[in-house]
Symmetry: C2
Amino acid sequence: MIDTGLRIERSSNPKQKPDPEQLSFGKVFTDHMFVMDYTEEKGWHDPRIVPYGSITLDPAAMVFHYGQTVFEGLKAYRTNDDRILLFRPEKNIQRLNRSCHRISIPQIPEEAAIDYLVKLLQVDRDWVPSAEGTSLYIRPFVFANEINLSAVPSTEYTFMIILSPVGSYYKEGIQPVNIYVEDEFTRAVRGGTGTAKTGGNYSASYIAQEKAAEKGYAQVMWLDGIEKKYIEEVGSMNVFFKIDGEIVTPILNGSILEGVTRMSIIELLRDWGYPVAERKISMEELFAAYEKGKLEEAFGTGTAAVVSPIGQLNWKEHQMVINDKRIGELSKKLYDTLTGIQRGQLPDPFNWNREVNE
Amino acid sequence: MIDTGLRIERSSNPKQKPDPEQLSFGKVFTDHMFVMDYTEEKGWHDPRIVPYGSITLDPAAMVFHYGQTVFEGLKAYRTNDDRILLFRPEKNIQRLNRSCHRISIPQIPEEAAIDYLVKLLQVDRDWVPSAEGTSLYIRPFVFANEINLSAVPSTEYTFMIILSPVGSYYKEGIQPVNIYVEDEFTRAVRGGTGTAKTGGNYSASYIAQEKAAEKGYAQVMWLDGIEKKYIEEVGSMNVFFKIDGEIVTPILNGSILEGVTRMSIIELLRDWGYPVAERKISMEELFAAYEKGKLEEAFGTGTAAVVSPIGQLNWKEHQMVINDKRIGELSKKLYDTLTGIQRGQLPDPFNWNREVNE
């Protein structure tokens, strides 16, 4: 990489910050953004923080045609004593590079990327909201922009980071959701792109999500693409089950996203002495455990919700009601602990947080 | 749809047309483009032909994040008597809508879309090249552009058509290519997006294509995602085999693209009295036929190459050389007939061509 040094151009026209009570998700953006370009000759070059604004592209730019895009999502939190904390940002940047590899996008320099992110947060520090449950959502993304209709990897890319203040995921308190187990559409398969955070995985899932919504379900649970038998993910979250005292989550098999929240939950549980099994788990097995009264809790995990309890699962003709549709004790403890660490309200024994200095 | 009528704004600054001898693929574009917008309130609206130029988008436009894009590819040809012919454009527009359905994009009005395409070709008629083997490549595409980081279907879209004069696919004459049968990476699976022309399918395939190129192969042959046993496609083309006098092509199983060239080849072959089987065919079966000397020809089909003969197939430790790496008699007849019809040099008994009047 030819690093010409980070250039910072400050906005001369700062925007009004939104009412913290009215924050939704991903529709309002801060005053600045990070941009860096890639060409074959120069590698990644011209890293810069500039006023948030539009991108101008040729209609033949590859991003419009062949889906060569990857992204990440993480959050910055404001503590009660006005410090700004990032949660395990190195894990997101490492995963971004794994996604890049799968989608044939050149690797991003990881340490520099974290440094640029921290600098961007310093510039837009005032945008990190402080109200309970709010945070600053961080969206790093890379897209192909060579002007060429050939279906080959692009020789030019743009890496950007944009920031969006977001409201609480649980405005009305945590409500367990009902889930439809999808047996027609497939999210991902071995040898495919399921482990990558690439656009195509998401748009491909909308049709199943819409089908579930029509039937009155909040989310879809995805089964493996080969046998339609083993559980993979729920919505765009990883999934955990507490079965007879043991916590079970699908093993990373090449088609499941390697969630940073998933990883952190597993580390917490093991630290607390719970038995955690990362393994294949079929819907048959889950239903059998349910029938015996052994399915104690179920929840999704992800950056947006952190922990999202599952109150009901619809699988074929079966309606499985879990823990009387109330949040489980362990689900609640995990949510409280993880959000407490992220917000600096609890000790951080694993050194997960990275503080953004002023 | 609220059709406010097609608006045409002509370029005041026409570009110089490229040297027809130097044409490559998809890098040079004509003077005009077609654009139409979609919002939930207005539906598809404001269809317009405007000077070819850049698109300006917010960095949070959904196209950069969640891969909600679909596209088509077809060609216009200039005949020896200076007529402009389109090949089965209604098939492409119908497929565009099937792709839209899979990716949760609202349907395009089909007849209007063909009308807009014809109008665009009338405006840029002079850009259709006349040299042997050249054509005007047509790229309709749709992308999501709502400003929103939520992973849900966009409420706003843009539909565009751009045009690119392209050179002969076979500048040095038709050369059979060598193909690597891919058994690690997966292109598509039942319940996935394989039948849709959506960006994610293409970027997902690059890693296998690069692996094949490193090993010295021109293209990848894709096997089914479930058993890694049955043949699906070759590169981004459909595939045909002539085995003991019968022509076999993989049946459209939900993960294979419904090629317009594939469809036309099958219709031609049946018209000529050849037995054509659309069915599952495994690599084991193909190899067994090869071993018995019954694998007579193999070729890919697609809009760009029309017919692309396969000279050699690498499957595991086996190197299968087909027809001494020469183009097969039937492959050549299919190529000559289809390109002859497309260029108006042969009769068009199936009424496939649509003429673009002046």
